[in-house]
């Protein structure tokens, strides 16, 4: 049973900013929040990880509020190549804790 909840799908247009939110209602104190991207016929690829507040890298930003009950992946100015499935994941090193949900299928249109 997935520990996280995220929308099944989202649509966007090229050049727009996309925000995908994930619910972490039972996140543990030691858990970090990690986001992966998966293209068809490929394995998931790490995008970004954070514990709280805001993290930014060359690909995306991750916003985590103080209560850590949710996280938002922000993709600035998406392009067609950002069409993929995006997974949020909690992990704190405990056995049985590595659970992927169904992910959010992002479709970027021209």
């Amino acid at each position: 049973l997935a520990k996280t909840t995220q929308p099944i799908s989202m649509d966007s247009y090229e050049g727009q900013e996309v925000n995908i939110t994930c619910s972490h209602n039972n996140i543990a104190t030691n858990d970090y929040i990690t986001w992966y991207q998966q293209f068809p016929s490929q394995g998931p690829r790490f995008i970004i990880q954070g514990y709280k507040t805001k993290v930014t890298n060359e690909v995306a930003s991750l916003f985590i509020p103080a209560d850590r009950k949710s996280s938002t992946l922000s993709l600035p100015r998406v392009s067609l190549s950002d069409t993929a499935v995006y997974y949020c994941l909690e992990y704190g090193g405990s056995q049985g804790n590595l659970i992927f949900g169904k992910g959010t299928k992002l479709s970027v249109k021209p």
């Binding site: 970090y32 016929s41 490929q42 394995g43 998931p44 990880q49 090193g93 169904k102 992910g103």
Partner: protein, 118 residues
């Protein structure tokens, strides 16, 4: 830096046959994972190794699935005998950080092996 290597990329077998998948993790990565990904679903962890020891195999169907990681490097996942419902992509991943270390644990995935059981 070389990524996680998996072979074969595709495999087609008949039910009740056996099959094996191979994974070579990123050099120096202590932790290795095998996942099963059924079409339209997220990856499901089957087994997690720390060096050559098993950390978590709670979701591995042990009556038909087995995995080993000899010498703490390469790993093989075997299914014997295969069932129709085993049709899926089998993903291998590795991470530098060991389990039990809070946070981090960035996993690097291979391209997977697509198994079709007829």
């Amino acid at each position: 830096e070389a990524g996680v290597a998996q072979s074969p990329r595709y495999k087609i077998i008949e039910k009740r046959q056996s099959v094996a998948f191979w994974c070579n993790p990123i050099s120096g990565h202590a932790t290795l994972y095998w996942y099963q990904q059924i079409l339209g679903q997220g990856p499901k962890l089957l087994i997690q190794f720390q060096n050559n020891g098993v950390v978590d195999d709670s979701q591995l169907p042990k009556d038909r699935f087995s995995a080993e990681r000899l010498k703490g490097v390469d790993s093989t996942l075997k299914i014997q005998p295969a069932k129709l419902e085993d049709s899926a992509v089998y993903l291998c991943a590795s991470s530098l950080d060991p389990p039990g270390l809070a946070g981090q644990n960035i996993q690097y995935f291979g391209a997977g092996t697509r198994l079709s059981v007829l």
